[in-house]
């Protein structure tokens, strides 16, 4: 028991490792914020493309489907390896000379955009067709009906599942360590292999938990609020 506590919860090791892990963790936060912003924008664009009407738009729709299928199916760790190890070897100016951080954010964005596209799409489809019809009947164009009537309602509805995906993204920033980004996990690992003490992992774990709790509680709050609103409407 004493050895267990010493290996994972040593106060001495905590004081030694915390500054490094905390430093690394700030890189996780930077990756997370950047990737989340990019995911929000790209996923919305792709969800809209998937819903485009008409025969002329089918190549675009097909492309969007191929993309979401491919990146929802590929493990993040593979994408991270492919970008971080594969692209620098190509010697293409502007693509091969980027930092591990850059490749890491790209990998997160590619994979999570595929998930969030589906979330947005479900939201768009949940807005009843009569809303679009009412907007079009007033003379609004397809794009205007989407922008002012469909998307505002769709986005509101998907905020809870979307935040849920973001909790996943935050944790998965740890996987980007394989791309060579010195983030919290790497710092904990370095410490662990030097001192045979794993308190650093616990520290990193607790930091991740503290990061996701506010988001999880906020999601709960939104869901509860909506339930109350819907009950009030029904009554």
């Amino acid at each position: 028991m004493h050895r267990f506590l010493e290996a994972f919860f040593s106060p001495h090791a905590f004081r030694q490792v915390f500054p490094d892990v905390w430093n690394g963790f700030q890189t996780n936060i930077r990756m997370m914020v950047l990737a989340e912003l990019l995911v929000l924008a790209f996923a919305l664009a792709i969800a809209v493309i998937r819903g485009l009407p008409g025969r002329g738009a089918w190549p675009l729709r097909a492309l969007a489907v191929v993309y979401t299928d491919a990146f929802r199916g590929t493990p993040l760790i593979l994408v991270a390896y492919m970008l971080a190890l594969g692209l620098p070897g190509l010697n293409i100016h502007g693509i091969s000379d980027r930092s591990p951080f850059f490749y890491g954010v790209c990998a997160l964005t590619l994979v999570y955009t595929a998930y969030v596209t589906e979330v947005y799409r479900a939201g768009i489809e949940s807005v009843h067709g009569s809303q679009r019809m009412a907007a079009r009947s007033l003379g609004l164009s397809y794009a205007q009906a989407l922008r002012y009537v469909v998307l505002p309602q769709a986005v509101r509805r998907v905020i809870p599942p979307l935040l849920n995906d973001f909790v996943g993204l935050q944790k998965d920033t740890a996987i980007i360590s394989v791309a060579g980004v010195t983030e919290a996990t790497v710092q904990a690992q370095n410490f662990g292999s030097s001192y045979f003490n794993y308190t650093g992992y616990v520290v990193a774990g607790v930091l991740f938990i503290f990061l996701t709790i506010p988001l999880a509680r906020y999601t709960d709050h939104l869901i509860r609020e909506r339930e109350l609103r819907e009950r009030a409407q029904a009554g």
Partner: protein
């Protein structure tokens, strides 16, 4: 010389189901035409064809001298001139009453906020809901929501109004407030209207012309007193007898 709204041989299918069978109809300016008939007889589809919410399979529709069915017409421009009010109101739930009414004038007609707001408040005053301008639709009764939907359509200053069974989703005690408003519109503005309705006494009162639809065909048309008092077709008689029995007349 064609009428203000003219349908010639309009046919509409949903798959194998023929909903409108070669329908002819003429509506003059300032005229009110009521479409009556059982549910599924094609009344709503006919209205939706007129503002191209549904694509016509055969036949032609003229509005204000323009052929709507030749594929060259600017659909968005056309719809500015044709207002439609739906059975289920279809207000935008994420917008206040005022925002519902001003959205299209601002985005489609390019009106500034002040101009659009002023006009909208004027319309809301007309329908007796000026104090609800900042409320969201889910705080309003069905009758109030439907009146807002009418105001939203009127805000575009349409030349033609299509009313698609606008009282069918309302509690009986709320029907009259909506019908009173429509009656006012015909009297004050001389608005050209095509009205699909189950309210026979209302149709009898406001219509210049009543059309009885049966299985996608206009079986009988004429002035209201003739249709309601001396129908010629056995199917019309049957329908009116059923309506009478149901206490809707």
């Amino acid at each position: 010389m064609s009428a203000f709204v003219q349908l010639e041989g309009v046919t509409k299918r949903f798959g194998d189901n023929v909903v409108l069978k070669s329908v002819d109809l003429a509506v003059d300016e300032h005229q009110v035409v009521c479409l009556i008939g059982a549910s599924g007889s094609g009344k709503s589809t006919l209205l939706r064809c007129v503002n191209l919410l549904e694509k016509v399979d055969e036949g032609r529709i003229f509005f204000d001298g323009k052929d709507l069915t030749n594929g060259k017409v600017d659909v968005n421009a056309l719809r500015r001139n044709i207002g439609i009010v739906f059975q289920a109101y279809n207000l935008f739930p994420h917008m206040t009453v005022l925002q519902n009414v001003t959205l299209a004038p601002k985005k489609v007609l390019g009106h500034g906020r002040r101009k659009a707001d002023e006009r909208a408040r004027q319309l809301l005053r007309r329908i007796g809901l000026e104090d609800k301008a900042e409320e969201y639709p889910d705080r309003l009764s069905g009758g109030q929501q439907q009146r807002v939907a009418i105001a939203r359509a009127l805000a575009m200053d349409p030349k033609l109004m299509l009313l698609d069974e606008i009282t069918s989703a309302l509690d009986p005690q709320l029907v009259s407030e909506v019908l009173n408003l429509v009656r006012g519109l015909t009297e004050e503005f001389g608005m050209t209207m095509i009205i699909a309705t189950h309210e026979m006494s209302f149709a009898r009162e406001v219509a210049d012309q009543v059309c009885f639809l049966d299985e996608g065909v206009i079986l009988e048309e004429g002035p209201p007193h003739q249709i309601f008092s001396a129908p010629r077709q056995p199917r019309t008689k049957e329908f009116l007898a059923r309506v009478l029995a149901a206490g809707r007349m």
